[in-house]
């Protein structure tokens, strides 16, 4: 009897949860569906949900008209480049703070976090001028540098919380056995830290891929990643729903897939380890 009631309750919960889930997801689903319509069908009233002539023409159109692939590659280079560079700088720092903490380590960590609180507009003007004067404006290199700097605190914090969980005794043992510092890092620490480093990598690629303040302000035609490319669709001449949808689908699909794989790490990374 009791079991029966709970199954009934479970069915109701399932129905409610699925309805809400689909409603929240609907804008993405709708974008996906619209990307396969013709422009006329995309603005048809009443709207066609599933029964329309599916076409992949929009995808080819977006590629041939505005060289989608170039912007995609910019996004890839900028997000991977800034993340890898960030990891390179952050791994030694996080390692040192996790295994050789001093009285000031907590303060240093808090200070690093506080740099994230500075609103980007506070430094927009000088960054724009520095970039203009050094020829970094609208280059991938420039965007890699900026995104590395803005995500560095998050990378260090994430790595720090992961490294903290590795028992220090193992490293001591390696040191006793005569391993040098470099060997200690490469052969002992790295293999144990790989899962944490991988999660950090994933989260930061997502953050860098979607970053839309610096990429919009410091890039134009040449180095524009997908965020800036999509923004060009906001002008009236670009107002074609089906093409906008196709471009959007291609821009979000890779990161949607990455994100779904890493949802557990998302929480931890985004809360700096405060919620696990």
């Amino acid at each position: 009897m009791a079991r029966n009631v709970s199954t009934q309750r479970k069915l109701v919960t399932t129905a409610v949860a699925w309805t809400i889930g689909i409603l929240i997801f609907f804008p993405i689903l709708w974008t996906f569906l619209t990307s396969f319509k013709t422009e006329a069908q995309a603005i048809a009233s009443p709207p066609a949900f599933l029964f329309f002539d599916w076409t992949t023409e929009n995808y080819f159109e977006v590629q041939s008209r505005s060289d989608y692939f170039k912007h995609f590659m910019n996004s890839v280079v900028i997000s991977f480049g800034s993340t890898l560079l960030g990891l390179l700088i952050a791994i030694p720092s996080a390692w040192a703070m996790a295994f050789s903490p001093t009285k000031r380590t907590k303060d240093v960590l808090m200070w690093m976090l506080s740099t994230k609180m500075m609103p980007p507009v506070g430094v927009l003007v000088p960054m724009y001028l520095i970039f203009r004067n050094t020829g970094l404006l609208d280059t991938r290199t420039g965007l890699v540098i900026v995104l590395t700097l803005i995500n560095l605190p998050i990378i260090i914090w994430m790595l720090y919380t992961y490294f903290k969980e590795i028992p220090g005794e193992i490293l001591e043992a390696a040191r006793m056995d005569g391993a040098s510092l470099a060997k200690e890092i490469i052969y002992v620490l790295t293999p144990m830290a790989i899962p944490g480093i991988a999660s950090t990598l994933l989260l930061n690629i997502i953050l860098a891929w979607n970053e839309a303040f610096w990429t919009l302000n410091l890039s134009a035609a040449k180095a524009a990643p997908l965020t800036a490319f999509i923004a060009s669709y906001s002008s009236p001449e670009g107002l074609f729903y089906a093409k906008l949808s196709a471009a959007s689908t291609m821009a979000i699909a890779p990161i949607l897939i990455l994100g779904w794989f890493s949802q557990k790490q998302l929480v931890r990374g985004l809360t700096f380890g405060a919620v696990k």
């Binding site: 997801f25 690093m112 960054m127 520095i130 997502i206 990455l258």
Partner: protein, 290 residues
């Protein structure tokens, strides 16, 4: 434990990060302060001169500035309200036993992974557009006049779009926290005759307080600087109705080329963010230490 050798090695390894972040904080910020004291327009190169605090008086007496401060706070508070309340509700729902929980979770998380420009353009064109949008179609379906969201309620529309993006974040974190709540405690409370509401108020909510604080802290950092959503939907308009501080400084710098004025605005934005951060850190410090 650590030998002198490893301690100096540790300093050496922390140095690059610290120096880079220090440079990143100090150099541009110092330049912003310097520019804010100049009369400096990119359209008139070579005409820079010392202007004292006139850029600040200009910015602080501009009616657009007060509107921007109000809008900034409205976006932060509006989005926080929707996402925290909605997030608690959704987390409680997703914590119940159901079929296909993993799939629902994936559906709910998705908006957070969408880049801001895509999210804003999809909402603007395919939902909120008064002619071709789905909302207009729904309104006509029930016999109402379509509502031009972005023209008549620009700030509210932007809050909706941004809240849609951040609701998954709040839900995900609150759900994670909820799942760490001891099952036995809940059962014990139930045995003692506590109803669903009192269990929520006296058991669940206190348990969530830390996660809620973290959600508020992190969202506030990002919400103070909402930019792309405004740029592609309303461009700050009509007038300055949906201009926040970030957008105001951007417009001053890159649309009007007023380096001095924009820098003063940037410094004001930094000061305001620091005031907010000060209160937040105190609040966080209390919760995290408890």
């Amino acid at each position: 434990m650590a030998t002198l050798h490893t301690r100096s090695a540790a300093r050496l390894m922390i140095a690059p990060s610290v120096l880079l972040l220090l440079a990143w904080m100090v150099v541009p910020l110092a330049l912003t302060v310097y520019f804010s004291l100049l009369r400096y327009n990119l359209l008139m190169p070579g005409m820079e001169e010392f202007a004292g605090l006139s850029n600040y008086t200009y910015f602080l007496t501009d009616p657009a500035f007060f509107q921007a401060v109000f809008n900034t706070l409205a976006i932060v508070l509006g989005v926080l309200f929707i996402t925290v309340v909605g997030g608690i509700g959704l987390a409680l729902l997703l914590d119940q036993p159901m079929f296909g929980q993993g799939i629902v979770r994936i559906l709910v998380i998705a908006p957070f992974l969408i880049m801001p420009t895509v999210a804003a353009l999809v909402w603007k064109n395919m939902f909120m557009n008064p002619v071709n949008g789905l909302f207009a179609w729904l309104a006509k379906l029930v016999g109402l006049q379509p509502f031009d969201f972005l023209a008549n309620a620009p700030l509210f529309s932007i809050i909706l779009i941004v809240a849609w993006q951040w609701l998954p974040f709040a839900t995900l974190i609150l759900l994670t926290a909820l799942q760490s709540l001891d099952e036995e405690q809940k059962e014990a409370a139930q045995m003692d005759g506590a109803g669903a509401l009192s269990r929520f108020i006296y058991l669940v909510l206190p348990h969530l307080s830390r996660a809620i604080t973290v959600v508020i802290l992190i969202q506030t950092i990002f919400l103070l600087s909402v930019f792309a959503e405004i740029l592609v939907t309303t461009n700050g308009g009509p007038g300055t109705q949906s201009t926040n501080l970030t957008f105001l400084v951007y417009a001053q710098a890159l649309l009007q080329f007023d380096v001095g004025g924009a820098s003063a605005g940037g410094i004001i934005a930094v000061i305001l963010a620091n005031i907010v951060a000060f209160f937040l850190m105190r609040m966080i410090g209390k919760t995290l230490e408890a």
